[in-house]
């Protein structure tokens, strides 16, 4: 490619002309390549669009509605969305998880907005949010009847597990990362052993241990809530991976920063909290967000231990023999829900990177 710098000439026409010349047909070979790509992509898109939109059935009038459909049968979503989104939560009480998810989303949006970044606001906000969401979901206060966690399900459950993972896991990750770089031999060995052991086993194993093995060590009759056990399990797993990411960030902070901080007479926690960590986290940010998004999707692993998150609920409800032919549509719907959250996190991550990189020469 010759000159890829955008000319300083203003005007729409020129810009378009430049874009076409440089980006679409800089040479005959590129023209060929562009058309080949188009030829590949367009038919697939047309097929998908036909299946998903033009030939699809959207309205359900019972099991017969999709009999003659050539395309997708979205009627199955109309029929089954309540179970997919709420799992086993009692039907008449489903306004409670709906409200809980709404409160949760508002809290998250506030938390992610830089203008509200102050511990004095966020700590009380989360305390209240956790309390209100817990009260709504579990009940037992006033007229709300108790809904045990075995009946929680769907989107609310996925969100609770995801937030629990990040809120519990992130502080542990920071401590493990600092522990691994500590000069205290014991602290360092404990961190290393913990990180390496848990990183070395699959998440499924940790879930199995949390669900099946852990209760065997408890005296008979005592029972730690399964949801809690699982969330702690996923959180520790998340923390071990995240710890290594943060350690990468810590190592990238130049030695001079540590020395300068010490020379100023800062204590360990002052130095770590005010000088080192902010830089380390900024450096490691893309990788940190990577793990956060993975943690969101990892919640779907609970399928194998019988918690009714979105994916388990979809699988269970699609056992209905009349509708099970349309499992592709149901999973597409569940996949879209994951995508919506994953993509929102990605966009946020990119915005934050741009914001944090202001004033830095990278």
């Amino acid at each position: 490619m010759a000159n890829t710098l955008q000319p300083l000439v203003s005007g729409r026409r020129n810009a378009l002309d430049w874009w076409l010349r440089e980006r679409v047909w800089p040479s005959p070979f590129h023209i060929l390549l562009s058309f080949a790509t188009l030829a590949l992509v367009v038919p697939i898109c047309v097929k998908i669009a036909n299946w998903a939109i033009f030939d699809a059935v959207f309205v359900s009038t019972g099991p017969e509605s999709c009999r003659d459909a050539v395309g997708a049968c979205w009627a199955v979503i109309a029929e089954k969305h309540r179970v997919i989104l709420f799992g086993l939560y009692p039907f008449d009480e489903q306004w409670r998880p709906t409200l809980a998810v709404a409160i949760y989303l508002i809290t998250v949006i506030v938390t992610l907005t830089p203008r509200f970044w102050s511990l004095r606001l966020l700590v009380p906000l989360w305390t209240i949010a956790v309390f209100v969401i817990g009260a709504l979901m579990y009940g037992g206060i006033g007229p709300l009847r108790i809904v045990p966690t075995t009946e929680w399900g769907g989107l609310a459950l996925t969100m609770i597990m995801f937030s629990g993972t990040v809120i519990l896991g992130f502080p542990i990750a920071v401590l493990l990362a600092l522990g691994r770089r500590s000069h205290l031999a014991l602290l360092r060995s404990v961190s290393v052993v913990l990180i390496e052991t848990l990183r070395g086993v699959p998440l499924i194993t940790i879930l199995f241990v949390a669900v099946n093995v852990f209760p065997l060590f408890l005296p008979a009759g005592t029972n730690v809530d399964k949801l809690l056990r699982v969330t702690i399990g996923i959180a520790i797993f998340f923390a071990c991976y995240q710890a290594e990411t943060i350690r990468g960030g810590l190592q990238a902070v130049p030695e001079g920063q540590y020395e300068a901080a010490k020379a100023l007479g800062l204590r360990y926690w002052q130095m770590t909290g005010r000088i080192i960590l902010p830089q380390a986290l900024r450096i490691a940010f893309p990788a940190i967000m990577n793990h956060v998004i993975a943690a969101m999707k990892n919640t779907s692993f609970v399928m194998i231990i019988g918690l009714f998150d979105i994916l388990t609920a979809t699988t269970a409800v699609m056992q209905d023999p009349v509708w099970r032919k349309y499992y592709v549509e149901a999973y597409t719907f569940a996949g879209f829900v994951y995508f919506a959250f994953g993509f929102a996190l990605s966009i946020y991550a990119r915005l934050m990177e741009r914001r944090m990189n202001k004033g830095y020469v990278s």
């Binding site: 086993l88 009946e151 194993t205 099946n212 093995v213 194998i304 019988g306 609920a313 056992q319 009349v322």
Partner: protein, 343 residues
Amino acid sequence: MRFAFGFAGAIAALLCTAILPAEAGQGDTLKAIRERGEVLCGAHPGRYGFAAPDDKGRWSGFEVDLCRALGAAIFGSGEKVRFVALSSQQRFPAIQAGEVDVLARNTTATLTRDTALGLNFSPPVFYTGLGFMVRKDAGVKTVEDLNGATICMAPGSTTEQAVARLFTQHGLKYTPIVIENNKELASAYVAGRCDALAKDRDALPGVRMYDAPQPEEHVILEGTFSKEPLALAVRHGDDQWYDIVKWVMYGLMEAEENKVSQANVDEMTKSKDPYVQDLLGVTGDYGPKLGLDKKWLYWVVKSVGNYGDIYERHFGDKTKLPLPRGHNKLWTEGGLLYGLPVK
């Protein structure tokens, strides 16, 4: 993934057998259930007809109703049951650790499970086993006609072992095509990739009805070719609780045999038949011998019906999955269900 799965399962199973938890003490389970106010029932996370959430997210199915019967026997209401969905790897640790009081999760009663896994099995509540579906125009009438056939089945299943054993016994040859995913397995058969579909017999009518475009072109072979007696399971150690589970199941069968159904249970309390009076707790005190209310079986039948009512509700002609009762008829009608006398 599969390796990880197996590995984790193996570790869990090993630990379970190595440190078998303290067995349930005599009477502890019923006491705990009474204090808690509900029975904890380990259920299949989704097998239509047996246990699956309905469109309103409410548990529904044959095994679900058996658990509700236990709730009714103790509390007089089938609603006093909480279901805990358990995967197949998870079900035994869950019952051993006391996470659930009873397991009603498509579990075949076997010697190993009864002994090494520390379980006690209720009388079988559902008899099933290997069955075959073939295309009608193939003219297959018996297993012998399947000589040389390609057969679709799920890998690593008891089906696979049962087919191998059956064909060796008869000195027949076959080509297995193993497909993991249930849906794909059905599609492969329907698309003609194999001559016969081998599956638990109770699952075949669903495939015929909903996966085959022309159900009348397929037939299910007469007969069940392996033994899969499904039963409820409880932990070793608490005989009282085991008795309750066992006798509630017998009670369901006895109610059907004596024509006491959900529809007529209130009338039947006025029955002149002394045995029916005993069953419904009008006379006699069989409930208290189990540690239950005198009218325990009345509440069971009132809440969920007798065995036949439950079967009809989930596998009857009006359901989405009609399934002939076959072995699951009463012994008086040529089936295998033989309730012991409530005396």
